[in-house]
Symmetry: C2
Subunit: 340 residues, 2 copies
């Protein structure tokens, strides 16, 4: 290995609506302990890791909604004192973390955010661009699984900004610090974000997610058209498909971490935490539906095969034909020919 | 089924460097006969179907190179009299065809082209945008497999223009004619082309290919790092990965057809002809490495699930963050931070 690095996806299992923040942090800290014991230099945690995936609920209590967001910067990291203990522990153990959380800015704007934090410093920050679901609830009936990210969050305003992680350079050597990018959950289905990172030479993508394993209204399917087991398998199939393809076509490693398990004993989330290499192969993946550290030794030099051959962008891309991608968000169909 | 259609990938097996054009056409016509017998309305043929995949050779004889290109338009279709028999037969049988060939324009420019032809009329034409490989041969030694598309062809100048196929409307009904797009071989690895078609509401993608199963120099790998069986499996893995993902993320059916077999008894090409549904599932695939018609009954209405929910572009895409995709072809890495 030319630029070796030990990394992990820190998968997090069931968290209920009422689970106290301190109980979650205690579990995350246990994962950090495992990471440090195993020599992991970077651990990627899920999306909105500090609580259950609250956008599934139609919530009317504003205080409850507010409780899902980090507001006060503590030593430059937007978090409460309870959460600060997590970043302190990561710093003490010498483990870099990429972790997702609800963020509320000083002006009250709320984002679905992930931060890459090294030694208590924010090295890179990302706000989720592709918010799935709907502004309006499918139903206010508590038995219905909603997907209200568009209601609870604003779309990210940072774009897709890759950054270097000097802390990892110390671990893996090489002349320059590794290039890192972050996406969150549904973003992984959108090739645009991946490609913007690819055009910055990304070598490690960090992606946390909450992916529901049963959401017929979200998917637009008849609930009787598939069993819950089939729905779980299909959601996992799509997850792996987009992750492996976009890692391959951008010649980057991917560390992707699930919030999984059956929240409140009712709402199933897929697992599928894994580490993917720049050729799209899965090199490590989860074995459980619970808190679990998925570890792999990777060689960042492996990105060079794709970046210099099949996906040598400067040699092969033809930007003069890509205009529509940036010109319009939605579909415009071709006209019906005359005399059709 | 709301908008049913029977379609096929017409896979074509081994063609050697010296195989006469008429012998190839005879085999293609046999596939057309099968298609008509089985009620197929659209058959998709491979890339450069009328000859062996000549860009693998460093060729110095200009007459041989010229022989791989269609020059004279015959009733509006660029083809020689030998090839015209194929389009005549397709018209007689009532089968639409999408087929790839080397095209030479009146001014002598050469493209890697695919045409969608219905009843002897060109309904849609595509010139390959993403030419893989190198301008210079890896070696002029005949034992080396080159990939000289950049030398033999100019990059396509049409972009990615979706079109409607009125002939298919007759078959499947609905208010409007199906929307079709074409890509060729290596294009399928590039999300950009797919997305431009997606933004035109494409429902059927037609993609022919020649994909070598053993090309260590092209891939940038040590020939001793994998066996030929492993290389074949990996090339097939990548083929399916990008096809299934891009069909899923653009909510379109895909018909993709291989030139396969071991040309000249020496050069192995992968098979992998298949029909993929808009959720990324393979609904039919090849069973042989030879001439074979892979048939499926599809329902174009199945595109609506993705197009109206997960991949409802107008609701979810954020074009303000995609600028780099169109601004630059190649990679610009982030700066090393100070004090790194």
């Amino acid at each position: 290995m030319v630029r070796p690095l030990r990394v992990a996806a820190a998968q997090v299992g069931r968290i209920d609506r009422g689970t106290p923040r301190a109980a979650v942090i205690s579990r995350l800290n246990a994962l950090l302990d495992q990471a440090a014991e195993r020599g992991v230099k970077l651990a990627v945690f899920p999306e909105t890791t500090f609580s259950t995936f609250f956008p599934r609920y139609w919530i009317e209590d504003q205080a409850e909604i507010a409780s899902y967001f980090e507001k006060e910067p503590v030593e430059g990291i937007a978090c409460c004192e309870t959460v600060k203990a997590f970043f302190d522990k990561a710093a003490t153990l010498g483990v870099d973390v990429a972790i997702g959380y609800g963020e509320e800015t000083p002006d009250g704007t709320r984002f679905n955010t992930a931060s890459y934090v090294s030694d208590r410093k924010t090295v890179g920050k990302y706000r989720k661009v592709h918010l799935p679901g709907t502004f309006e609830p499918f139903s206010k009936d508590p038995s219905v699984t909603n997907q209200l990210e568009k209601y609870y969050f604003k779309p990210g305003d940072y774009g897709f900004k890759a950054f270097r992680a000097p802390s990892l350079k110390k671990a893996c050597g090489g002349e320059k610090s590794p290039i890192v990018g972050q996406l969150i959950c549904n973003d992984r289905r959108w090739a645009e974000g991946w490609r913007v990172y690819g055009l910055q030479g990304v070598e490690i993508m960090c992606i946390g997610y909450n992916t529901t394993a049963w959401a017929p209204q979200l998917w637009g399917i008849d609930p009787d058209s598939m069993t819950r087991e089939e729905a779980y398998a299909d959601a996992m199939f799509h997850h792996k498909l987009v992750c492996q393809t976009n890692a391959y076509t951008n010649s980057t490693f991917l560390i992707t971490s699930a919030r999984c398990g059956k929240d409140d004993g009712i709402y199933p989330l897929i697992s599928g935490s894994m580490i993917v290499d720049p050729e799209g192969h899965i090199v490590a993946e989860n074995k459980t539906e619970e808190d679990e550290l998925v570890v792999a030794d990777i060689d960042l030099d492996a990105c060079q095969q794709g970046k210099t051959k099949t996906f040598a962008f400067a040699k092969h891309r033809r930007v003069e034909h890509y205009g529509l991608i940036c010109e319009r968000a939605g579909v415009v169909e071709p006209e019906e020919p005359e005399e059709a």
